[in-house]
């Protein structure tokens, strides 16, 4: 089930599903690098509210600038890219994904695999749960003036529910704006049946993903729903949702997780299987990518495992039963977009976290507040207090950034986490004393 790979100086344990995902990504980027020869058209789009099945139904290839940015962060390239963008006039204050992406493009658009990414034929601006997306693609439009641009405005769930007229609004935009542009650029006629088939495959993968997330109800949890979770969501949040390979990946991953449950094993960390589960946590906010492994280590060294995370819902929330469906494909896409995590209002987000904390028996709640992501960060302090009051659990707060290494302060994070873990430990001691008395 496990293979041991040499990765530079560090030995990292990888599961078959991880290797499979790595191969899927390599194949995808290879395909992107060959579009001049194959003539395939390229669509740049975003993870939240992505329309991957629709893009593939036109035989086009998606590129996700956020993923490129986070990969640049993990590969220690983001510092230079950000500097490049700031030299162009982008403020230090704004989203580091945008700056990293623009800097990468200006420096030759070399993707995560070292191959040059093709320019977009279409910028598909799915404006879902993040205002910056709109500005980001306005900027890209100026960098790629020949690319077509299609805007899909996803209304916010301001009242905490999906309004029927919002679904109609999205369907109309798909019919009148997005699909015609996809047809124009690809030269392929829209085929609803083909789209439906892909959506049904998405639903299969989504069922498996939820089984994987729900495995965190076990003790020990067989998964880390944050650091491990970002690998788990890789295929379904990006270029593979709606493909047979995606279903295969999740079947492989689910079987690995089932194996760990049966054998009462903890999650796999870069240093192997987590031996002892001391703290079960739920986390709000994206991870830091520039120091990903060291950041993770701060937790697994303490035996802290994440049993739930909101970041793994940013590209789709499947916990409340939603699944893509071929019944009414455009409606299904609309409901998917509307339901993405950051498109939900603050009370909904708090309710979802509360559900994670209770369903996965968490000991504490942590906010990783991201300096350059207002969509996530604005309101997190209120969310913390609400959850503390409702559930009487310890809450912790740390600050990092997505891909700007200047905002990762090891000592600050360590100090705050030490206090948080002490609080959790104290709570456990008290709980044991109470149980002994009873």
């Amino acid at each position: 089930m496990l293979s041991r790979l040499e990765g530079g100086e560090m030995t990292v344990q990888k599961e078959n599903s991880m290797l499979k995902q790595k191969q899927m990504l390599a194949d995808h980027f290879m395909e992107l690098s060959q579009v001049r020869e194959t003539g395939k058209k390229v669509v740049y789009t975003f993870v939240p509210g992505n329309l991957t099945e629709l893009i593939y139904s036109f035989d086009m290839l998606p590129v996700y600038p956020e993923i490129n940015a986070l990969q640049s962060g993990m590969r220690k390239k983001s510092r230079d890219y950000i500097r490049e963008a700031e030299d162009m006039g982008y403020s230090e204050d704004i989203c580091s994904y945008v700056k990293c992406d623009i800097g990468m493009m200006v420096q030759g658009n070399i993707g995560p695999t070292g191959q040059q990414l093709p320019p977009p034929d279409l910028l598909l601006l799915s404006y879902t749960g993040c205002f910056v997306f709109m500005k980001w693609f306005e900027n890209l439009k100026h960098l790629y003036p020949d690319a077509e641009i299609a805007m899909l405005h996803i209304p916010y769930q301001e009242a905490g529910r999906i309004e029927p007229d919002h679904i109609e609004y999205i369907k109309e935009q798909l019919r009148t704006e997005v699909i015609p542009k996809l047809e124009k650029v690809s030269g392929v006629k829209f085929d609803e049946t083909k789209l439906g088939e892909k959506l049904d495959l998405s639903a299969k993968a989504e069922d498996l993903l939820i089984e994987i997330f729900d495995s965190a109800q076990n003790r020990p949890s067989p998964i880390d729903a944050y650091f491990g979770g970002v690998y788990y969501i890789g295929p379904i949040f990006t270029a593979f949702r709606g493909s047979p390979e995606c279903v295969d990946y999740y079947e492989e991953l689910a079987s690995e997780v089932r194996f760990r449950v049966e054998n009462k094993m903890g999650p796999i960390t870069p240093d192997g299987v987590l031996k002892e589960e001391n703290f079960r946590l739920v986390v709000e906010g994206p991870p830091n990518w520039t120091h990903f492994r060291g950041f993770w280590k701060l937790f697994y060294e303490m035996g802290a495992v994440f049993v739930g995370s909101t970041y793994t819902r940013v590209g789709g929330v499947y916990d409340d039963g939603f699944r893509h469906s071929s019944d009414d494909p455009l409606k299904s896409l609309a409901e998917y977009c509307l339901g993405c995590y950051t498109n939900r209002n603050l009370p909904q987000r708090i309710d979802l976290i509360e559900r994670f904390i209770t369903r996965y028996h968490a000991d504490g709640f942590l906010v990783n507040s991201i300096k350059s992501c207002n969509s996530f960060s604005a309101g997190q302090l209120v969310m913390m207090r609400e959850l503390e009051e409702r559930l009487q659990i310890p809450v912790g707060f740390i600050e990092t950034d997505l891909v700007d290494p200047r905002y990762y302060s090891y000592s600050n994070i360590k100090n705050r986490l030490d206090s948080f873990f002490q609080m959790l430990e104290q709570r456990q001691i008290m709980k044991r004393r109470m149980e002994a008395v009873v």
């Binding site: 989203c95 404006y127 709109m134 500005k135 805007m151 301001e158 609004y169 507040s369 997190q380 302090l381």
Partner: protein, 394 residues
């Protein structure tokens, strides 16, 4: 001479009226207005644009909430927002928690950025007895698509307001409100033209205060007030100074402190156009006020005749071109990009706008501020250098 002295005194007194409203963080005007009739309701709205005509037609007072600037110490607000989030939501929540807005019956949060959006969620949690609506403006400008969506948003607004006072909105009432606001925009635009033609007659601070008062007073009173200011400003006998003419861009939400506006002017820049109170002139034409479907009139005005803004999808109408046109129309010498720190919409637009200015050989320089900024020396030096550079070399 005595007549002129009288005019100047009257003008100064009239401006002081706006300044008093600006300084009053308890929104006493709205409180007193509401106390006159138990059926009256007060609706606060955040920047930038809200169709105030609807609120007015429902018999309510729309009140602009633009933060407390440098006039309030933040005690609670900092516990709500991290240091890397802009300043305006701190003072808004501080005022709300301190009871400054207890007499407000509802709050509207237009869709301009993620911070204002999430602030609406905080208000939902903290002020459950108030009417709260995140007002999602369309980013699709097709009448059948974005227009249909926008109609439902406005209907939802009307339903929410009706729940507050039981008022059934009529076509006649909405048409009448549209007409009053048309007149208000006409006066605002006249004042803007006057300021551009004779910037020595009405300072940037005075102009700002007069427009800002429009977010506090009833529109009827603001119209009378604008008429008075127009009359007095035209009569003021002031000498033009050797200053350059600038457009200020990027200050449409969190407002610069008055000291900063004054600093720019004192550094040798006449402000001949700005976006500080953009919502007051958002719709660029008169809205038809005699139709059977005034909601459609409001929709079409928004979709087809909105002012360009960082909060609105650019579509096929590049903002750089529109800013360039403003510079030409106002015969400006340059642009000051003046945006709040951590303001995603303004700061993400800035590089594109700067490139557009460069391409058109329009001078510009930029800086960031926050609403409670207290030190202006650096900005004064920069603005002064910018003005000198243009005066000496252009």
């Amino acid at each position: 001479m005595a007549e002129q002295h009288m005019t100047t005194e009257q003008y100064t007194a009239a401006i002081e009226k706006a300044r008093a409203l600006f300084e009053d963080l308890s929104y006493s005007y709205a409180r007193e207005w509401k106390e006159q009739d138990p059926s009256r309701r007060v609706i606060g709205y955040l920047p930038i644009y809200i169709p105030r005509e609807i609120i007015h037609a429902m018999g309510m007072l729309p009140v602009g909430i633009f933060g407390a600037g440098d006039r309030m110490s933040i005690v609670k607000g900092d516990a709500f927002f991290q240091s890397y989030i802009c300043h305006i939501p701190r003072t808004v929540i501080e005022m709300a928690l301190n009871g400054n807005m207890d007499h407000f019956d509802g709050f509207l949060f237009p869709s301009i950025c993620d911070v204002i959006r999430n602030l609406s969620g905080i208000f939902r949690l903290k002020f459950e007895d108030k009417f709260i609506q995140y007002f999602d403006l369309p980013q699709n400008f097709d009448r059948k698509v974005g227009g249909t969506f926008y109609r439902r948003e406005m209907e939802r607004l009307i339903e929410g307001l009706k729940a507050l006072n039981g008022h059934e909105l009529t076509t006649e009432e909405l048409n009448a409100s549209i007409e009053i606001y048309n007149y208000n925009r006409k006066l605002v635009n006249e004042l803007a033209d006057l300021r551009s033609d004779f910037p020595h007659k009405i300072s940037a601070v005075d102009f700002y205060l007069v427009l800002r008062a429009g977010g506090t007073m009833t529109v009827e009173e603001h119209n009378e007030y604008l008429e008075e200011i127009l009359r007095l400003a035209r009569e003021v006998d002031a000498e033009p100074e050797d200053k350059i003419r600038v457009v200020i861009s990027g200050a449409f939400c969190e407002q610069p402190p008055l000291g900063l506006i004054k600093t720019i002017e004192n550094a040798g820049c006449y402000v001949v156009e700005d976006d500080m109170q953009l919502g007051m002139k958002w719709i660029k034409t008169d809205i038809p006020s005699d139709t059977d479907d005034p909601i459609s009139a409001l929709i079409e005005a928004y979709l087809d005749h909105s002012e360009f803004s960082s909060a609105v999808y650019e579509a096929d109408n590049p903002k750089g071109e529109q800013l360039k046109q403003q510079v030409i129309d106002r015969r400006a010498d340059g642009v000051l990009f003046c945006a709040p720190s951590f303001c995603d919409p303004a700061l993400l637009d800035r590089p594109l706008l700067e490139q557009a200015m460069d391409a058109n050989h329009i001078r510009h320089f930029g800086f960031q501020y926050h609403e409670n900024l207290g030190q202006f020396h650096v900005i004064k030096e920069q603005a002064g250098t910018f003005a000198d550079m243009i005066k000496l070399w252009e």
